[in-house]
Amino acid sequence: MQNLPVLSLHGDFYTDFSGIKRLFEFYHKASEYSNTTIYLDFYHLTWIDANLCALLQSMLFKLNSENNLTFSADLNYISEKFNVLFKNGFINNGNPVEDANNSAIVLKSFSSKDKDAFVDYINNDLLNHKGMPSFNGFTRDNILTSLIELFNNIDIHAASTYPFFVCGQYYPKQEKVVFSIVDLGVGFLPPISGKTNGEIDNCFDSIKWALIKRNTTKKNAPGGLGLTDLHTYCQLNKGVLQIITGDTYWSSDLEKTVFDCHKFKLPFTGSIINLHFACN
């Protein structure tokens, strides 16, 4: 460990602009290295939303694939202070940790071709989770289908051979479940810019475009119905939909503020969809 480069995860990481921005910064620092093992310092971490493990894991995967980096950390310390990272499978040392409170929705990665496994996961791990609202059949089908549309979108438009990553967490005190989907593709802008013959030329406009039903139901159109229906669900059920792609962070709760979106100076790749479900 003596000669290993050390990168620190410092402070709080919530599922918001600040938390995601600092994870992006972590990625860019790590990407300066190659062919080595980076020691991840969790001693200065005070909180991490466990669903963000989908993003963190996608970063480690990309760094491993492209920079030949591996990672080490003080697992005893993490086990003591951030046990949830074992419960949700982010850290797997061969000794499964029981999730007695059943608060984690396990971290998984899927190939964009593996629809059956993805549907099973969404049905069993997410929609049947104790923290999720009790849906009627119509709403349940609608959410499941919307998530399948996102899955299809990754398959067709992300232009990536990498898997995508999903993870969720139930927060009983805040009475919500947050679910994250992260892909390492090209993001929203290139396919939407192509579809609109260059009329859409920035990430914020590409997000707004993908949220309009008339656009996304067309043949060969990026987006599918998924985002439109998830946005509507969140509006009607006190939920929040966040979309991060390229340099842009958009959240449905920004619609009530003076901000349209936030911008990252150091963007990541692909896209991140975070869904905040309000419990009953």
Partner: protein, 123 residues
């Protein structure tokens, strides 16, 4: 060999009178592009008003799947497709509106979008 091939073609033609999506894609999940193409390639329709397409036994239906099957059919045959009798599972009220959305978009095409965009500019 040729005779056998013709018989096979005929068999497909007769089956197309009442088409089961489930039988064609062999899955309850009508969601991905490949299955949409599979359905489209199975649709040898000659008489639209005598044709039923059934979604019975299908659990999930995506717009991507529909665009690749029913949407393509609508682009080729236009208004004729409105004569097809679509059969939906009773417990899936969403399916009907999804099929209608895809047909509507396919029939209206980009010209309609252009008109809508122009109308928006005048508001």
């Amino acid at each position: 060999m040729r005779t056998i091939f013709c018989l096979f073609e005929k068999k497909v033609y007769f089956r197309s009178m009442n088409i089961s999506v489930y039988d064609i894609i062999q899955s309850k999940l009508a969601v991905n592009q490949d299955d949409g193409v599979k359905l489209f390639e199975s649709l040898h329709i000659e008489n639209f008003s005598n044709t039923s397409i059934s979604f019975i036994n299908i659990d999930l239906l995506s717009s991507l799947f529909l665009n690749e099957s029913i949407g393509r059919l609508a682009i080729i045959y236009g208004e004729k497709i409105s004569s097809i009798n679509f059969i939906y599972p009773q417990d899936k009220p969403l399916f009907k509106s999804k099929v209608e959305d895809v047909i509507e978009n396919a029939l209206m095409g980009d010209e309609y979008d252009h008109l809508v965009d122009e109308a928006k500019l005048t508001i």
